[in-house]
Symmetry: C2
DNA sequence: CTAATTGCAAAAGCTTTGCAGCGCA
DNA sequence: TGCGCTGCAAAGCTTTTGCAATTAG
């Protein structure tokens, strides 16, 4: 199932180029949901596409700005990206197996807005990661 | 009020050295609660203490391992440290000014446990950062 | 045609590391 | 005294940037 395509690039004000389409394709077809720029770069090489690492970084950043992908900064020392599937979700990471479970909770979402308001701010974004262990 | 001192270093298996005491002092007296290694380094220079940046990094990492300080990885491209005061709290970071506000919310804390349970896990730890903008 | 995009290599930040000398216990 | 610690400089990593060549619209 194709999530994003040429028209999405055009709608984002980006020219439809080979590198951008290839990177989109990698993000859509890769089994690994969260990919670093390096990951994408290597996947491209394996597909026989010779695209510079700098371009991967530039394109991913543009995609992020356009809202096509989401950037996460876990504590790994590098960013990881995932296709923006429209729905927001948080992550639960198992400290033993490294399994990742996605979830959303309306109560928490609600409170986050309230808390920001209470301090005179408006909520722009948030990052919530639960570190858990199988019982 | 002094939070940490020589004996805490000894208890952590660390020798009591000038650099470690000075860094501890900076962390305790600085008005800015969250300091990067650079921040600590510059504060030391201003105090007339000539301590290498590499040492600051090494000491902060040791302090983190010893549980004396907590390291946070916000989306700023560098780590920030704060004295471990025992109490847990989350952070709100202003995307414009980089100001950091600490908070805790019982409702969110509660829900986190419940969510983990609902998925068959037990909550070990968590990281929540709200990115906000002044209204 | 021409403004946007790319590739390459160089540079930029942050952080770590190797090593010789210094200092705490 | 002996091992840990420090300073300095060099190296490592991820990410960004300058610039000439290339390409989409």
């Amino acid at each position: 199932m194709v999530v994003l395509e040429s028209k999405d690039l055009r709608n984002a004000g980006l020219k439809v180029t080979i590198p951008r389409l290839k990177i989109l394709e990698i993000l859509e077809t890769n089994s690994e949901e969260h990919m670093s720029a390096e990951d994408v770069f290597r996947a491209l090489l394996e597909s026989g596409d010779d695209i510079g690492l700098a371009t991967v970084y530039r394109v991913l950043t543009q995609f992020e700005t356009a809202g096509l992908v989401t950037r996460h900064n876990f504590e790994t020392g590098h960013s990881v990206f995932e296709l923006a599937k429209g729905d927001h979700h948080d992550h639960m990471v198992c400290v033993d197996s490294s399994d990742v479970v996605e979830f959303t909770d309306p109560v928490i979402e609600q409170r986050q807005h309230e808390i920001a308001e209470e301090h005179g701010y408006e909520l722009v974004d948030h990052s919530l990661v639960l570190y858990v262990r199988k019982k």
